[in-house]
């Protein structure tokens, strides 16, 4: 009879054991911020459908200090989502070959963040144009 008795360690609390995993959990949690905002937006869509008064009510609610504060928090979460999403881009997308050489991960993340910034600004510009 074999005397083997392999010991299996528990995974409980694994995400607390390494700073890398803590960061991972934080960046995973940013999805909640994004979702929370999308629900706010969804309410906005519904209110829009209910007519001008309802819409203005929504707009007013958005102006409450608490709401603005919450949005600041959501913004922080969403920005971190953007940052972490593109930070892992070098592993999630096929290698980009530039001039016969694989693009360095930092360069790739940097480029992607620049694109994200540009996309954000384009959106802002668009809204500006609509507003004028």
């Amino acid at each position: 009879m074999s005397k083997r008795k392999p010991y299996v360690r528990s995974m409980d609390g694994w995400w607390k054991k390494n700073p890398y995993f803590v960061e991972y959990m934080i960046h995973e949690s940013t999805a909640l911020f994004v979702a929370a905002y999308c629900l706010v937006l969804l309410v906005g869509v519904i209110r829009l459908g209910q007519g001008e008064a309802a819409w203005n009510g929504w707009l007013a609610a958005m102006q409450s200090p608490l709401s603005v504060l919450c949005h600041l928090v959501l913004l922080a979460g969403a920005v971190y989502h953007t940052y972490s999403w593109f930070k892992i881009l070098p592993i999630t997308m096929p290698p980009v070959i530039v001039g016969g050489k694989k693009m360095a991960p930092e360069a790739l993340t940097g480029t992607a963040l620049a694109v994200a910034a540009a996309a954000g600004l384009a959106l802002l510009a668009l809204v500006w144009r609509i507003a004028l």
């Binding site: 979702a35 999308c38 969804l42 603005v68």
Partner: protein, 122 residues
């Protein structure tokens, strides 16, 4: 490992997750800034940026409608996918129930959003 492998149907959810993650990474921060901070505080953007007629027009526009729909529903798919995975990561093996709940929420939001937006007409 079993010799007879079942094909995972994850690509569907993974695809939605990826699209939502990417879209939200590109636009959500600025959207939060505009709708949650700049407009309410009357900061940077002209007054009346999000007035009823303007927003209605935007949401009745084909592209505007599509954009709002994509942001809301795909981000939700992105989020529930992560939450579902996190449950597993925290050692909660809720199995099929949790899966149905998570993706059910995303489905519900998608439907509500679609109905809401379509209701605004074109």
């Amino acid at each position: 490992m079993s010799k007879y492998r079942t094909r995972s149907n994850a690509p569907i959810f993974w695809g939605l997750f990826g699209a939502g993650g990417m879209l939200s990474a590109l636009f959500v921060p600025m959207m939060i800034f505009i709708t949650g901070i700049a407009v309410p505080l009357g900061f940077l953007l002209p007054a009346g940026t999000m007035s009823y007629p303007k927003m209605l027009a935007f949401a009745q526009n084909f592209i505007g409608k599509g954009f709002i729909f994509a942001i809301i529903s795909l981000s939700l798919w992105f989020c529930v996918h992560r939450v579902y995975h996190s449950l597993h990561e925290f050692g909660i093996h809720a199995g099929m129930g949790a899966k149905l709940l998570c993706y059910g929420i995303a489905m519900l939001v998608t439907v509500v959003c679609a109905v809401g937006l379509l209701g605004l007409g074109f």
